[in-house]
């Protein structure tokens, strides 16, 4: 399972990467915003995306929309891990086709729970 973690804060990328490693996911790459993530996804063989919302350059919600528009990527599961907690944003993300939505600050148990749910649905 190859995972791309997209967040503009390197510490948050590191936290998510460490948590994923504890859950057994060791093949994790990083990108610092949507515009660097998108070409990585298009040219790579990623299976899963974890993205922040609020980033300079391309924001997470726009990255999600681009992924859903792309024929090659549109079925890729995308999880948002973000401090954005406005209801209309959560609804907008759901409408754009997000597979999971986690608000920061979050716990390792929350991350595991959401991941399990996403992979359950995919099987």
């Amino acid at each position: 399972m190859k995972i791309l973690v997209v967040d503009d804060f390197s510490t948050m990328r590191r936290i998510i990467k460490n948590l994923l490693r504890d859950l057994g996911f060791t093949n994790v790459s990083e990108a610092d915003d949507g515009s660097t993530a998108l070409p990585m996804l298009q040219n790579g063989d990623f299976d899963f995306v974890v993205t922040d919302w609020n980033m300079p350059g391309m924001q997470g919600i726009d990255l999600l929309r681009e992924i859903r528009k792309d024929d090659k990527l549109k079925h890729m599961p995308v999880m948002m891990v973000t401090a954005e907690a406005k209801k209309e944003q959560i609804v907008a993300a759901a409408q754009a086709g997000v597979n999971g939505y986690i608000v920061k600050p979050f716990t390792a148990a929350t991350l595991k729970g959401k991941l399990d749910k996403i992979f359950e649905r995919l099987e």
Binding site: T11, R14, I15, K87, F106
Partner: protein, 247 residues
């Protein structure tokens, strides 16, 4: 102004003007014109005079505080530096902590796996089913384990202390942020002073300016989620909202 509804020259004045011009009496014509326009000018001059007095009074009422100049030239750039510092310090603290954990976890894993290795022989000893040769090798293994556990636990203690010390960012950044908040308060007070002296804020435009520019835009961490209707305050509320929508 009522320029469009009320003529700037009365009918009588206009007739007198035409008569004077027809008679070739330029002196009278000029006088009539001057009389008509001087009324308008008088009002304008009066208005300008009033405004000038108001401006003068405002300026003398508003004692230009040197603090305001300092705010713009020193304090605001200083606040930016401080906030950059907060970002740097918190990033360092997070990395320091995670570095410590990266070195600490293998040590605890090693202690655990050593115990798992010793366990079968030890169980035999407890059940008095151990042979002399096994007992001897168990003694050596336990001796080795005690030595490595002693140094490893001391290392773990040092790592814990490192993690503890890394939390000093809370104190450092807290102080810095407090000062920035004070500065923001000062700027706010100066702006309010400026507004009360120089103008009556238009209620409508003030309200319009308050509206968020982009409703779908990102806002960052919500610091007052409990009191806000439009935001969720925890993961459970996110899940409830999504499941209520059928996701």
């Amino acid at each position: 102004m009522s320029e469009e509804t009320n003529p700037q020259i009365s009918l009588e004045d206009a007739k007198a003007l035409v008569e004077a011009l027809e008679a070739g009496d330029n002196a009278s014509a000029n006088m009539i014109l001057r009389e008509v326009t001087s009324k308008e000018h008088g009002e304008l001059f009066g208005e300008v005079g009033k405004l000038t007095r108001q401006l003068h009074d405002s300026l003398s009422n508003f004692q230009l505080d040197p603090k305001i100049a300092n705010l713009a030239s020193d304090d605001i750039p200083d606040a930016k530096e401080r906030l950059n510092y907060v970002m740097k310090v918190t990033e360092d603290a997070a990395n320091k902590t995670m570095d410590a954990i990266d070195t600490g976890l293998p040590l605890t894993d090693k202690i655990n796996s050593d115990i798992v290795k010793l366990k079968p022989e030890w169980d035999k000893l407890m059940q008095r089913q151990i042979e002399l040769g096994e007992f001897k090798s168990l003694c050596y293994s336990i001796n080795e384990f005690m030595e490595s556990a002693e140094t490893d636990s001391a290392k773990i203690h040092a790592i814990m202390t490192e993690i503890l010390l890394a939390q000093d960012f809370q104190d450092l950044t807290g102080q810095v942020i407090k000062r920035v908040i004070e500065l923001v308060k000062e700027v706010e007070e100066s702006l309010i002073h400026l507004l009360t002296v120089f103008g009556e804020p238009n209620q409508n435009t003030a309200n319009e300016a308050k509206k968020p520019v982009d409703n779908n835009g990102a806002e960052g961490p919500i610091i007052d989620a409990e009191t806000r209707e439009d935001a969720v305050s925890n993961q459970d509320e996110v899940d409830d909202l999504l499941s209520s929508l059928g996701f």
